[in-house]
Homo-oligomer: 376 residues x 2
DNA sequence: TTGAAAGCGCTAACAT
DNA sequence: ATGTTAGCGCTTTCAA
């Protein structure tokens, strides 16, 4: 099958309603009606219009429709790539295959720095995509550099009827401007009335539950909370941890808590604890990523998990299922969160004068091996 | 911080250039210039305009700009979710957290049907996203049901300056129409002149190389090719397999080849082979997914891999790294393929009268355990 | 350096 | 059942 005109040359201007109308011998209104309100057009006329449209390869312009309508029919998601420090960086050079090129053979995956496991952001994004498709909306994915995120996100905002953002990816000024024009949903705990809609999970309840598991089922007493940046969600998780200790009548430690956001920090933390002979009975980590770092640092120093110390995470990312020992964690319903975002946006469009929405979804504790549980 | 007007009510119509111009006491042209060609506006005027724009929460309408400009500044990707048979299906009911709700505790991941490993399409999509962001394009992700894909893809096409599609996701008629209006890149081998641009990999070379590895390094002779739907890419891979056999002076088997696109088929295939005592020395599978199915079916029947039989795949998806034995495969540069798509689209925009592009990227053979290699 | 105004393609209100 | 037409918000000549 041969598409396009000869040699794939596309010189003619794209066909418009006017062209179709002329060829079909009708008015532009009838062309529009044929596609948008077909019942108002006589069948014969409809066929003639469709035939003309086919012949001219007519594709309606969403810009024109959006301008006329005041709505674009698309939502936006301002996302990011967790593994890319600088998305603006030049990507690695890629060659193309020439005749007689050797095919590289490598043993194992050593030094293969390509995409890792999907993390929180990826899984939520997929939920947003699926629900947009299901509800008939197009989805505009923006993201990348934090450098010019104001420009980038404002550009996205101008193209959509509603926007979803992850916390701390967009400057407050930009958010304020945008949220005044279209509904915005943020994927985080809801800071005291910021006028945005929020989708979040039961951060404190989940962390409390996993902590209680450590306390009640494994009889542990000396738990160390490992945190990171003080986000709203992190605060809630810490609160849940403390609540569990308090309820159990244990001493609730004061801040500061150590963090282990990367391998180096985790290594330092474990090394320090070991040096001071102060290893706790459990590392209660505020994210799976942190827990994975701690797990590796512990393995490096040959500290047995769960034999000598337990480790728990929070999120439920895929990597935690795969790693050995498998990570006990609190699973967020990431796909459902993404879907909820879209549902809220649609609701806000239907009732722009209503209150911002705030949806807190349930989590579940997933018991695997790193807490000391024996599966099956 | 409080965004939005009181109670988050958004009643006023969105501000336009006219509003900003009026408030700043300038013409609409000056407002436009302030943002698009700032150097042509006196600094003081610029500041005044920006101040007015801030005050009014002005966000330029991409629809209007797109209409005026004839370009939208966005690309489209028509994607799909590999694990979702019917994306139009109602998603599972999700509740919200109420006060006093119990937190569910589950042991292990039994019955957890959420998102699996990322596959080919996910990794290519991420490449497209990253390159779009890097080059300053917005990315519209469409996809989902194959039911109304003509409607869906045409809708996307109307919103973008260029479109990327995976093979067999869009009916030919739709592609023809669209490719007449905007550049289209397909992620597949290039069927004899379809007028589209293509990004592909060295399918035959890669399959030939992995087959030669089985022949030369492991001394195997009785190889079974396991295929699936007869796509362009599949045909090339089969050709590579046959070429390797031919070169080695081995008998090149005729079609038909068995397939194992799902677990059931793989189980049946292995069962049949076992019953006929006709197990080959190696299963050379045309995708990783198929190889993974075969691996599982073999494990079910306690056939040792690589002890009794070798298995190889094609793609390089994450799951193949994780599974035991780790899967020997041919890795496609998926992120680079996604990036190439965007690069081509930008090129075609710059030179609409040029030839469709055709970029064939190199693959590499990744030796892991399932072929019989011992790592490290 | 700034302003006036045309026009991008579409659709809905209104007219026929 | 179909046609006429205004106008959505923006940018870009062209003129001042």
């Amino acid at each position: 099958m041969q598409f396009g005109s000869a040699e794939g040359v596309r010189v003619a201007k794209a066909a418009t309603v006017y062209d179709v109308a002329q060829l079909a011998g009708v008015s532009t209104a009838t062309v529009s009606d044929t596609f948008r309100r077909p019942h108002r057009v006589k069948a014969a006329t409809r066929d003639a219009v469709k035939k003309a449209a086919d012949a001219l390869h007519y594709v309606p312009s969403a810009s024109a429709r959006g301008l006329r309508h005041g709505r674009t029919g698309a939502f936006g998601l301002f996302s990011y790539d967790y593994f890319r420090t600088d998305p603006a960086a030049e990507p690695p050079e890629t060659s193309v295959v020439g005749p007689g090129d050797e095919i590289r053979v490598v043993r194992g995956d050593k030094g293969f720095a390509d995409r890792q496991f999907p993390v929180y952001v990826d899984e939520v994004q997929r939920g947003v995509e699926l629900e947009c498709w299901r509800r008939g909306y197009a989805l505009l994915i923006g993201g990348g550099g934090h450098a010019n995120s104001t420009t980038a996100v404002t550009d996205i905002a101008g193209r959509v009827d509603g926007l979803a953002v992850f916390p701390y990816t967009v400057p407050d000024e930009a958010l304020e401007r945008i949220s005044n024009r279209i509904p915005v949903v943020m994927l985080s705990e809801r800071p005291h009335g910021d006028g945005l809609s929020h989708v979040t999970v039961d951060n404190s309840g989940g962390m409390r539950a996993v902590t209680e598991h450590l306390l009640a089922e494994h009889g542990l007493r000396d738990l160390l909370f490992v945190g990171g940046p003080t986000t709203f969600d992190a605060q809630q998780r810490l609160a849940g941890f403390r609540a569990a200790l308090r309820t159990a009548g244990l001493r609730v430690p004061r801040k500061p808590f150590p963090s282990a956001v990367d391998r180096a920090e985790a290594t330092a933390l474990v090394g320090d604890l070991l040096a001071r002979d102060a290893l706790p009975e459990a590392f209660v980590c505020y994210t799976d990523e942190t827990a994975l770092n701690v797990l590796e640092a512990l393995a490096d120093r040959s500290v047995a998990v769960p034999g000598r110390v337990a480790v728990t995470g929070f999120d439920g990312i895929l990597a935690g299922r795969i790693v050995r020992p498998a990570l006990t964690t609190v699973r967020q319903p990431m796909e459902a969160m993404g879907r909820a975002v879209v549902d809220i946006l649609i609701g806000r469009l239907a009732d722009p004068a209503g209150e911002p929405a705030w949806r807190r979804l349930p989590v579940e504790v997933v018991l695997r091996e790193s807490c000391g549980c024996r599966l099956r």
